[in-house]
Symmetry: C2
Subunit: 97 residues, 2 copies
């Protein structure tokens, strides 16, 4: 029975470690998405110049930046959704050990 | 007495109008200051490129932007303090009418 208990402990340890990694990634994704939203707001109202560095920013370039950032944000949101599913699954596993 | 009352009413109206103007300006100053703080945070961690438009941003230019924005932020904070004093004074006047 000792052997079985130590096996369960190892599994629990692995699951907790995995959970911490997924939590870290979730935090980073949320941070990225929130930052991207803020930049998109700023870019959408900018006219002629970058509101941060003041350099010229014509509409064509500005729209290019908005498209790229929106795409990256969508990809991050998909990834975030997947990681949250993974987190739920791991939490479930931990609760069943 | 009618004449006196109408005079007080006019004064009350003027003070309320003044208060609304000061409140509007206070809101704009707070918005400006909060926006400036956020830009200063972004500029302070930027390295080599503008985090918003991606254009090259050498340290010299970046520090220049930070200095100018800090200065504008300080001026806005002084102005905000003054407008808040004005608001208190007007509120006082209104309460004494
Ligand atoms: Zn820029």
């Amino acid at each position: 029975i000792d052997w079985l208990l130590s096996k369960l402990e190892e599994q629990l340890e692995r699951s907790r470690k995995k959970r911490d990694e997924v939590l870290k990634e979730i935090n980073m994704l949320e941070q990225f998405i929130s930052d991207a939203s803020d930049k998109l707001d700023r870019l959408s109202v900018a006219r002629g110049a970058c509101p941060l560095c003041g350099r010229p920013l014509d509409d064509e370039h500005r729209v290019e930046l908005i498209k790229r950032l929106s795409r990256e944000k969508k990809e991050a949101e998909k990834r975030l959704e997947a990681r949250r599913d993974t987190l739920r699954r791991i939490e479930q596993e931990i609760s069943e050990l």
